[in-house]
């Protein structure tokens, strides 16, 4: 994923799209491998996009497709692909109809939102009409979270889905320091699963959530039982 916008790097806006995309991809059985955040710099966007679209099967972008002068994603994506930018006829038709129906002026600024690289396919926007677009393996979406989410929902069923990764979360009342050694042994003994441990700190003491992930149900069960037995063992030793 490539999240675009000076406001994300200045801290003015806290990104909400990365975590959402991550959740949706996990449910769809698609592994999110890398995220980059860059500012409103056309060369940086184009260079980063070229790196990501060659490295990965799918790339999703957020941000920079609105009507103002700092919305430069369409131009940067076109530059990355070496394509000209056009006013997309279908986008033009949708926005003309939308503003006419609301008796709003279809200003040159709003018209900017119809610009896509030549040959792009549109991504529907059920929230505010102005579409995103797809070029090859790159999906270009809005930065406003409600619109990003609507666009992603409209396309996720068309993606090549993998076998969903299943996960089992096991709450653990002990800190990572208490479970690190035995958990490491369990991880070594169960190569078919990935075991993560996520520390929580409530201000006075640590607890942990242990998450086991696998595409194989049996491997997941075996590892989960080993973790539960380990936790029961620690508990028993403490009470003894």
């Amino acid at each position: 994923m490539l999240a675009i916008g000076d406001e994300l790097l200045s801290g003015r806006t806290k990104d909400k799209n990365i975590g959402h995309l991550a959740e949706v991809m996990t449910l769809a059985g698609i592994d999110l491998k890398e995220v980059r955040i860059v500012g409103d710099d056309p060369h940086m966007i184009a260079d980063t996009l070229n790196t990501l679209r060659r490295a990965y099967d799918l790339v999703f972008t957020s941000g920079g497709i609105g009507p103002t002068h700092d919305d430069i994603t369409a131009d940067a994506v076109a530059a990355a692909f070496g394509l000209p930018v056009i006013e997309h006829p279908e986008a033009l038709a949708r926005l003309e109809a939308h503003y006419a129906s609301r008796e709003m002026e279809f200003t040159p600024a709003r018209r900017r939102m119809t610009r896509t690289p030549q040959g792009a396919a549109l991504i529907d926007n059920k929230v505010s009409v102005a579409p995103g677009f797809r070029v090859d393996n790159v999906f270009v979406m809005a930065g406003v979270p409600s619109v990003f989410q609507a666009m992603l929902a409209s396309l996720v069923d068309q993606l090549p889905a993998g076998e969903p990764l299943k996960s089992r979360a096991i709450p653990c009342p002990f800190g990572e320091g208490d479970i690190g050694d035995p958990l490491s042994e369990i991880a070594k003994a169960n190569p078919g699963v990935v075991i993560g441990s996520y520390p929580k700190f409530d201000g006075t003491r640590y607890s942990t959530e242990i998450v086991i992930r696998s595409r194989d149900d049996a491997a997941l069960d075996t590892a989960a039982k080993a973790v539960e037995a380990m936790l029961a063992g620690i508990e028993n030793r403490r009470q003894a």
Copy 2:
């Protein structure tokens, strides 16, 4: 910045450190230029870190310095620099004292948290003692937000501060489509400032926050007045 952790890419954990670092850097007058998020893959972490530390003056990492088997950041950072990993004597002393004072066992897992690349300087952790560390221009910090924030607070005064970027936020009741054209003219006429416009959508209508940024107070004033005059002009035309 480099944020590390499978849990960020699966959506299980929503990152809170990127936005915090961005805010702190902006206040310190340091421009955050790029963020990457990668999983718990030692080669990916090392390669990404080598790219970032050569491209930028400062690099901050979050995540992967706890006591469990999936905490591999110290090893990956050492690999990136071609350094051996040692048990840092001062970190060892701090953690031994900490666990002794609490009558807690200093397990091999907890001892993992003393591992740093050789020659690293420690970053204090006032929340839970186990330190972060610095190697050259790379600052390695925890992923737990309260600990990340404490570590960043302990080092930010030592960073080479730039002239802080000042900003002026101007709320705007109109959508970007209404202001895009005149705002674009103002941006062109005021090259000493960066003007961002951030759409908000409340479910029925768009409004916008216009943010002007500059290191030059006079340029900021001039551009802010131009934006306010533009908004007053739109308002007057609507009422006419």
